[in-house]
Amino acid sequence: MPGLRRLIEHIANNGTRDWLFILPSLVLLTLLGLPLLALFGRAINADFFTQALSPSALEALRLSLVTSLLTVAVTVALGTPLAYMLARWQFPFKSWATTLIDLPVILPPSVAGLALLVAFGRRGLFGAALNELGIQLPFTTAAVVIAQLFVSAPLYVRAARIGFNEIDVQLEEAAHVEGADQWQLFREVMFPLAGRSLVSGAILTWTRALGEFGATIMFAGNLEGVTQTMPLAIYLGFERDLGVAIALSVVLVGVSILILAVTRKLDKTHR
């Protein structure tokens, strides 16, 4: 561990002042790490696999995967053009659009859930119109996807916008000179060059969608197999069977660590 030796040397050279950095850091790292360790500690028992593989746990896992991947697909389809426009075009109300993209990221999920209810609920702003079309969103899997989209799609758009922004304008001009139209430019130059940003943005959106809880429980309710995703199963299951909740949590932590590792790798190869 050359890093550790360097740290020790650094402390030896600088004396006690270093502790002003090290101690607070340790406190925070402990605070962040201990709960996860405790979760794994409690999960290690003979029942782990039977609990993680129980029918209701698997049902929640299946629903989580289906809805979050749908969310990612819709996000990429709708978010890529938007990110491109935000990065390269000038249009009226652009700053409004930017704010709209930034807002859900910092909005509490319960606010998101309530907003979705008053917009798309049966008595919501568009509830009557949707009802005419025979669509009632609350308590459906579609509502789960919409809740996930609302809170997680902006993450992708933000990442993609930055990715597009980083591309050298001269490259675009060159493509223009070569006679490429807007669509060719996007498909042949911008999309491949921003590829890594798009992928890491999509992964961010996926993790956020997987973890979505507050907006889902308010807007979509809780029914096994229809709207009960993993976070809901953990929250509502912890009093039924703490073991199942812990097993599910460990699965989610595992998936999250894996996702982080992949994004890191992508970032590294990028640089």
Partner: protein
């Protein structure tokens, strides 16, 4: 020096964070009801500020908020911190080490679980009220429900409390009873359960979903309907209903054992019972 101080501050926070789950202590309220409350413990000349933490079933929200205010009025310096949730959530929180003085459950199951976990002394719990259930509908009654039989109509959106929640357990017991009644038919319960679109984590969330008009019907306590008078109700006949019995007990690890005993006594007193009756519960005697 400044940095050292801030470091100390961080450490204090950390140590404080290690203490058992503390409940937020709202500022002690003035005591408007003090005059009309029988004082069980004479107020001392210089009351030390104390906090009594009460974990109570979600259905008790309105009644216990009032009881808590009165109790504060009769006990200068005492703040009653109330934590409302489904009884099963409260019991789990207590098992995981949440510090509380009093536990009021909406059924015997969770109180028995608390006894088994050593949180409550065996035999210490006392029933303090009974409750019944009914069906609530949004004021607009979007599904045009007029009878209990209508609950089986396909497409009716029914919301129940989850089967771990006392109100959810009671609701399912009632559906079972109705299924044994020939006038409803043996598949009544199955059909209603097939109409369930969401299993909520406590009974107040069932009320909220119906109030919002998202659900067509919910099965909740009579007391919940009293607290939300704008809702339409369909009564469940007594022979098909259940008698929900709520037990209350001071916890063995209560940080304020004397106050806890006082609070339980106050809930059981005629004054406490009057408040409960006012909020739609039935007194135990």
């Amino acid at each position: 020096m400044k940095r050292l101080l801030s470091l100390l501050f961080v450490f204090t926070l950390f140590v404080a964070g290690c203490a058992p789950l503390a409940t937020p202590t709202p500022a002690p309220t003035e005591s408007p009801a003090a005059t009309e409350v029988a004082v069980t413990v004479p107020p001392t000349t210089a009351p030390e500020p104390r906090t009594l933490t009460v974990f109570a079933a979600a259905s008790l929200k309105d009644a216990f908020t009032e009881i808590g205010k009165n109790f504060e009025g009769a006990h200068p310096g005492v703040t009653v911190a109330l934590n409302f949730a489904g009884s099963q959530t409260l019991r789990t929180q207590l098992e995981e080490g949440a510090a509380a003085d009093v536990f009021a459950s909406a059924n015997h199951t969770e109180m028995d679980n608390a006894v088994k976990a050593g949180l409550v002394q065996d035999g210490a719990a006392r029933d303090f009220l009974t409750n019944k259930l009914l069906v609530i509908l949004p004021a607009s009654n979007p599904a045009n429900l007029t009878s209990l039989q209508d609950l089986t109509r396909s497409g009716v959106k029914v919301v129940l409390a989850a089967d771990t929640v006392p109100a959810g357990k009671y609701a399912r017991q009632i559906l079972d009873k109705m299924s044994q009644d020939p006038s409803f038919g043996s598949d009544f319960g199955t059909k209603v359960l097939a109409n369930v679109v969401s299993n909520e984590n406590d009974v107040k969330q069932v009320v909220a979903k119906v109030q919002l008009g998202e659900a067509d019907a919910g099965i909740v306590y009579v007391s919940d309907a009293i607290a939300a008078p704008e809702l339409v109700t369909i009564e469940i006949p007594a022979e098909l209903n259940v008698l929900a019995q709520y037990p209350i007990a001071a916890l063995t690890q209560a940080p304020q054992p004397e106050l806890a005993a006082d609070f339980v006594a106050y809930v059981l007193s005629s004054e406490g019972q009057d408040i409960l009756v006012k909020w739609g519960f039935s007194a135990i005697q």
